[in-house]
């Protein structure tokens, strides 16, 4: 092994004398030193080999195979093996003894820049846009000739603008005339985002005064904009956190808020929903991989049914014996919560399960510089949808009226002809089912583990109580208020202190409004 290393070093040393010979490039790529590999990537990009671009992107996935002294090969995504030097299929078995090029983040960056240069002339406009972007990031003066050529040929306005900015970025690193640089600063500043800032802030100390002052004012402008955005962003984060809280709490607003069951097993219903998502994805992966993108759409009703069914079972077996003894529901549901956690732990194991995010929910939406991740946006919308659907069920259907009648006076409701046991089971099932749906959403942003529920139970009770027990609107407003307050505090106080402050604020607030935000008023309240 040591022998091999020495050998490799020798080969690498030999390659230092920069040669554009393909074999020398391949030998560099075969080195174990990232310095050599990085150089090899640059060489390959400028080598003019027709296969260079494909070979480079193959390198990112470990499909570019090299060994010192041997011709480099790459595998296409279809699996055919191509000789880099000739861009023709390689002989069978030619890959014996070859190893993938070592990549780390540095190499990945180098490859991205290199590919960028190579695809500047791609017929696909979006590829050219991406290329311009990576040239912007790479800022490698060696790409300038290629960029100039591309600029001359470019027709698309957007790509053109991007290329100009890329050129400006490079200009700033070269010793171009002062005027060019000042113009370049203006172009870069156009972006107005953090990448622009990176570039401008990174301008060397030795840059001419005029350039520096232009950059300084550009930085100033971008920063002001960013600072303003930051506040808006905080509120957006708060709304997003608030919706997570809302989702987690809204089921509890039914089982606890409406039915009066101190439901310590609520978190476990959320957890069951998350595990249902995992199961749905697992089944789809094996039986219908084509439907994976729609896994969440399947998981939502599935989770509702699973958690709802468990809820109905709990209600029928345990809770129904406890009406009129609300405090004892605490004890029983606590016991149920322990059992459910352990059951899931026994079945699925104690560790996290992987729930993947469909592509349509990955990534983020850029709204005037505001970054909103798609899954968060989706959660906000989902939470609101669940909320209003529930509101509709409770306010506009017979079920809703009967639920409220039963919880206010079970005996009288029965005398009125309401089938209280059915209503109880349905209501508890509904609350549990909604908690299950929350689990689907939470599986996108949190651990899917047996402890998932424990992480939300305290917050959920806090939200329901803060908002005012028995009032769904209170839960909505409570969740959003706590979410936004939390996110506004966090940048100043830090996450830990912020949370402490928030808890103290809640305690103080309850002194002012002892029955929560949306307190029930009226003579019956403490009659």
């Amino acid at each position: 092994m040591t022998l091999l290393r020495i050998l490799l070093c020798l080969v690498a040393l030999a390659g230092v004398a920069r040669a554009a010979e393909p074999q020398a490039i391949f030998d560099r790529l075969a080195s174990t030193k990232y310095d050599d590999i990085e150089a090899g990537v640059g060489d390959l990009a400028t080598s003019g080999l027709p296969a260079a671009a494909d070979a480079l992107s193959a390198a990112l996935d470990g499909r570019l195979l090299v060994a010192p002294g041997k011709p480099a090969l790459f595998k296409t995504p279809m699996g055919t093996t191509i000789d880099v030097a000739t861009n023709a299929p390689a002989a069978a078995g030619a890959d014996a003894g070859l190893k993938p090029v070592r990549v780390n983040n540095r190499i990945r960056r180098a490859v991205a820049t290199a590919i960028g240069t190579l695809t500047l002339m791609s017929p696909d406009a979006s590829a050219r846009l991406r290329a311009a972007e990576s040239v912007f990031r790479g800022r490698d003066p060696e790409t300038l000739p290629a960029l100039d050529k591309a600029l001359a040929a470019e027709k698309d306005e957007r790509v053109l603008a991007a290329m100009r900015r890329a050129k400006a970025a490079i200009t700033l690193t070269t010793d171009a005339p002062e005027a060019d640089k000042v113009a370049a600063v203006a172009l870069v500043a156009e972006r107005g985002d953090q990448d622009g800032l990176v570039l401008l802030r990174g301008l060397s100390e030795t840059a001419p005064e005029a350039v520096k002052s232009a950059a300084a004012s550009a930085i100033q402008a971008i920063e002001t904009r960013q600072a303003m955005l930051a506040r808006v962003q905080d509120v957006a984060y708060g709304v997003s956190l608030g919706s997570v809280l809302l989702l987690a709490a809204v089921g509890l607003a039914i089982t606890f808020g409406v039915m009066g069951v101190i439901n310590m097993a609520h978190g476990e219903m959320v957890m069951l929903g998350a595990y249902t998502t995992y199961l749905v994805q697992d089944l789809l992966r094996t039986f219908a991989p084509g439907l994976m993108e729609g896994s969440l759409a399947i998981a939502v009703p599935a989770a509702f049914l699973v958690a709802g069914a468990v809820g109905v079972a709990i209600e029928r077996l345990v809770i129904r014996h406890l009406y009129g003894r609300p405090l004892e529901t605490l004890l029983a549901t606590f016991g149920i919560s322990l059992m459910l956690q352990q059951a899931v732990r026994s079945i699925f194991g104690p560790s996290n399960r992987e729930v993947s995010t469909p592509d349509w929910l990955s990534g983020s939406l850029d709204l005037f510089g505001l970054t909103l991740t798609w899954n968060r946006v989706a959660i906000v919308l989902f939470a609101l949808a669940v909320f209003f659907a529930l509101q509709l069920v409770l306010k506009k259907t017979t079920l809703g009226l009967q639920v409220r009648a039963v919880t206010q006076n079970r005996r009288m409701a029965s005398s009125m002809g309401i089938r209280t046991d059915r209503i109880d089971a349905l209501t508890f099932g509904l609350g549990s089912g909604v908690a299950g749906m929350a689990g689907v959403a939470l599986s996108q942003i949190d651990n899917v583990s047996p402890n998932l529920g424990q992480g939300y139970i305290i917050d959920s009770f806090m939200v329901v109580v803060f908002g005012g027990v028995g009032n769904l609107w209170g839960t909505l407003v409570g969740a959003l208020t706590i979410g936004v307050a939390n996110k506004l505090l966090e940048p100043f106080a830090g996450a830990v202190l912020g949370k402490i402050i928030l808890l103290v604020l809640i305690i103080l607030f309850i002194q002012k409004r002892p029955r929560g935000l949306f307190a029930l008023k009226g003579r019956f309240v403490d009659a």
Binding site: N105, G455, A495
Partner: protein, 406 residues
Amino acid sequence: EETIKIGILHSLSGTMAISETTLKDVMLMLIEEQNKKGGVLGKKLQPVVVDPASNWPLFAEKARELLTKEKVAATFGCWTSVSRKSVLPVFEEANGILFYPVQYEGEESSKNVFYTGAAPNQQAIPAVDYLMNEEGVQRWVLAGTDYVYPRTTNKILEAYLKSKGVAQEDILINYTPFGHSDWQTIVSEIKKFGSSGKKTAVVSTINGDANVPFYKELGNQGVKATDIPVVAFSVGEEELAGLDTKPLVGHLAAWNYFMSVDNEANKAFIEKWQAFIKNDKRVTNDPMEAHYIGFNMWVKAVEKAGTTEPDAVIDALIGVSVPNLTGGYSTMMPNHHITKPVLIGEIKEDGQFDTVFETPGLLVANEWSPYLEGSKDLIADWRKPLSCGNFNVKTGKCGGGAKASQ
């Protein structure tokens, strides 16, 4: 038939069950295997499993039960530092033997504890070196869960970075509570901090449950490893198994072992593990290796001492050398910590790590950090005649009553 009892003190329920249950299983496997080889000193080993349920005082209670009721010859257990701190007095009082398999903050050396996880210099510092040298990082975010291990590690790192000329304004320290799940603000802060024009990296001592939402948020906000790499000390294969790793490719972790390490010993270990747990998808990780090493060391020491009597075994353990799973040998040093290689890996799409750097040799643990004021003059050496976990080389005295040999 006479047996030798081995205590297994890992949480099987509560928040830590996620990490610790695996360690219980790996111990059962190691014991079963040893028994197949005929046990130790001609006696079979008998595992005694208890569940301290992620509850720190319960750890102490269970430790006492293992030591005084079950009379175990050695115990393998604990994950969090607080659980170790909780059982430490019990082990010292009852003169038991504890093998602690997790990377920790150092600043401790007990006669009765053998630390098979990494001390800060065996994990954190090489990782920072790598980022500085390989990626040219100049600006650092030290993000951690708000407790002692991250705080200590970050303190050491801060001192280290400053000694390397990093300016105060190029270091951002951020703490979050256990189980923190909303990372929006912090990730965007990291992005902002990383937009200064200097290459920025995140050193994460975020622990446990909080990691999954943290990485999910990183992925969603598009923080790519090529822009702002994150190097973590508490994220291993087991944690990645619960994550969609596609968006995380290239982020790093520093450990002393990766499942992807390519050698015969490791391959055999993985095979045995997957057969034992009856699941060919189960991964292995660093603390598992630590238990593997610790257990083999114990076996060897008992055989050397010819008895399981604690004092004899404790003495015999020092200097014991056993193969680790990365292709070398680890040795129990007089400070009760072991020698380890440091591996830096980048996350791959399949949830494994691609080793991008490995220290050329094995590192000896600095249980007392040279970067901290109070401890830079301390050393631990449990060989006679010093027999001291915190010997002050300046004053020439062994501090701390219970820590000194009694």
